[in-house]
């Protein structure tokens, strides 16, 4: 080591530029430090976004670790939720989530698809934005408002419906539950359906609009009615993207919290009919988290959150892959 006056600063300078070289490979024409620093910062924020996602997953794992250690996978099929004895299982809320979401899809998908097809093909371009406007506004209404409306306006109506159904069709197993609550699987399914309809409609409409005109014209030129051209050519062509839109809606309905908490019922029995009140995973966490007093309790709730996160993450992933595959990347989902 030469005993030069500025040996330290020179080697540290060299070290710094080596680090910089590794972190930001110098591009042609941007050897300036300004550009490299900027690139570094931009890249840093992008990495930070990835870091945030990992942080979320990590925190969920960390928080639920105690419950995972204690219960293991049997948590997923356990049917007891008893804070007193410390016995927790998430099957009823999981089933509740699933049933309400499936029901919401059954209701929402035909209505959304019908609307999307009509808007994409049967409405002149000038009117399209006008008709789509209320639908897009609906997508922007906060879920708590749906919950409020659902609780005070919709649930009484559902109650009337349930009583009527039970009186006339009570033999049907799905109508066998207690009709008088109003809150329950049916109410949850309906409010979720209302909430996911705008999303599925808007995305499906965009996807259908991207079907090349020449395909549809080819079918028309063979002597097909407009409906036949849509049914036999446009829909199959858009099939992948449409499925993606539905799955996106499914993901939304699974993760939805406030509205479902308020109208879905808060009960731990496995639901056997449409009228049974039952928790969803999200509503369970929402209801009990602030009251959870001891570690295993909190950890179990976070475990539920982890399960919920994994399910919605996978569904979102699937939906994005399907939608991207059709349009090659660019339907900006401004939620």
């Amino acid at each position: 080591m030469k005993n030069e006056p500025h040996a330290m600063s020179r080697s540290s300078g060299r070290f710094f530029s080596t680090v910089l070289d590794v972190l930001i490979p110098p591009q042609a024409g941007s050897v300036r430090w300004g550009d490299r620093v900027f690139h570094f910062l931009a890249r840093g924020t992008a990495l930070f976004v990835i870091f945030l996602a990992i942080l979320l997953a990590g925190d969920l794992l960390r928080g639920s670790w105690e419950a995972i250690r204690h219960f293991g996978p049997r948590f997923l099929i356990g049917t007891t939720w008893d804070p007193v004895t410390g016995e927790f299982g998430t099957l009823p809320p999981a089933v509740g989530t699933l049933i309400k979401s499936v029901l919401s899809l059954i209701i929402a998908v035909p209505i959304s698809m019908g609307s999307a097809i009509f808007i994409a093909f049967y409405i002149p371009k000038s009117l399209r934005a006008f008709i789509s406007y209320p639908i897009e506004l609906l997508a922007g209404i906060p879920s708590i408002i749906f919950g409020l409306w659902g609780l005070f306006i919709m649930v009484p109506m559902i109650r009337v419906l349930q009583v009527w159904l039970k009186a006339n069709f009570g033999w049907f197993p799905l109508f066998a539950g207690p009709a008088v609550y109003g809150v329950g699987v049916l109410a949850g399914g309906v409010i979720l359906a209302i909430m996911i309809t705008p999303i599925i409609t808007a995305i499906s409409r965009d996807i259908l609009l991207s079907v090349p005109r020449t395909q549809i014209e080819a079918m028309l030129a063979l002597g097909a009615t407009k409906w036949e051209a849509i049914w036999k050519v446009a829909l199959p062509y858009a099939r992948t993207g449409l499925i993606g839109a539905v799955i996106l809606g499914l993901g939304r309905s699974i993760g939805e919290t406030m509205a479902v908490t308020m109208v879905g019922g808060n009960n731990f029995d496995l639901p056997t009919s449409l009228f049974d009140p039952v928790h969803s995973m999200a509503s369970l966490i929402a209801n009990e988290f602030a009251e959870a007093t001891y570690n295993l309790y909190v950890s179990s709730l976070i475990y539920v959150g982890l399960v919920l996160f994994c399910i919605t993450f996978l569904i979102s992933l699937l939906a994005q892959l399907l939608i991207w595959r059709l349009s090659k990347g660019r339907i900006a989902i401004l939620e």
């Binding site: 408002i145 009615t225 602030a290």
Partner: protein
């Protein structure tokens, strides 16, 4: 168009014509079904908004906006603390979210970022689907647990997590629309890349950027679930982010699920305020975009 059966030797002519009528009927039935669907979808908004305006408007008053809540069940009082709290927490969240999303969007769009860029963009799309209750858990684990108490800061962190993907996606889309010629012209004049991005590309797309931020803000303003165990709510004035703070959506939830009739009315009125603010913000956001591109 309906033909009577023509008498001729070729078999099946009338079958074909019946079939044609059948096809037209199918189209008509489908059309009717679709019209019903559209009517349902379009009217949903008015049904919900209608009730909010009706019930909320009834309980609304100037006092409602400007006073603190009364002790439980007592008439009078308002949601002023929640209004301030929401604004504060969302504002803080915006301050946190914008630099991150902006930087990441710039990275994805302005630099040859290859797989990393595509992954970040894809990840953002996927992250928009994270349930808001899980985001609340994020805020809890990150801030509430280490600090040992509920706080406005944890709420802001949760909101920021929701806002980042939204702003990232819309910003990147906005940047993508800026013509390459603009960048090349600037670079050809010798302006360094970073200046080009900051002083040329960003200003040009500023309206669209604003739209994205406003939409994210509108979204965050309405989220109640993350607040349940982060900001936690507070019946008093509080501007200290290290302590619990009230937010409007959380308040609506508390009031709506509470036992008092008065609270229910207040929930409606608060919803009225919330819906107005959120919808106005959304409309502003879209209006900003529309003014820019006149088509």
């Amino acid at each position: 168009m309906i033909e009577t059966a023509v008498n001729n030797a070729e078999t099946g002519l009338s079958t074909a014509d019946r079939h044609f009528v059948y096809r037209k009927v199918i189209e008509r039935v489908a059309w009717t079904g679709m019209v019903v669907c559209v009517l349902i979808t379009v009217s949903l908004l008015w049904v919900i908004l209608g009730y909010v305006i009706y019930r909320g408007g009834a309980a609304f008053s100037w006092e409602f906006l400007t006073t603190l809540p009364q002790p439980a069940g007592e008439a009078g009082g308002g949601i002023a603390n929640a209004l301030i709290g929401s604004g504060f927490i969302v504002g803080l969240a915006t301050l946190m979210a914008v630099p991150i999303s902006l930087g990441a969007a710039i990275f994805v769009n302005e630099f040859p970022s290859g797989r990393l860029g595509a992954s970040v963009r894809f990840l953002a799309e996927v992250l928009t689907g994270v349930p808001s209750i899980v985001v609340g858990l994020f805020g809890y684990a990150l801030v509430v647990q280490p600090t040992g108490q509920f706080s406005g800061l944890s709420g802001a962190v949760a909101y920021a997590f929701i806002m980042v993907p939204i702003i990232l996606i819309s910003t990147q889309e906005a940047l993508r629309l800026v013509p390459t010629d603009l960048r090349e012209a600037s670079l050809a004049l010798g302006v360094p890349k970073w200046r080009t991005i900051l002083w040329v590309v960003l200003p040009v797309s500023s309206r669209a950027l604003l739209t994205g931020v406003l939409l994210a803000v509108a979204r965050a303003l309405g989220e109640a679930a993350p607040m349940l165990f982060t900001a936690f709510g507070n019946p008093f004035w509080n501007l200290d982010v290290r302590k619990p703070m009230a937010t409007v959506p959380h308040l609506i939830y508390t009031y709506a699920t509470g036992p008092y009739e008065d609270w229910h009315n207040k929930a409606w009125a608060a919803s009225f305020v919330l819906v107005t603010v959120v919808l106005v913000t959304s409309l502003l956001a879209r209006a900003a975009l529309r003014n820019k591109s006149d088509d």
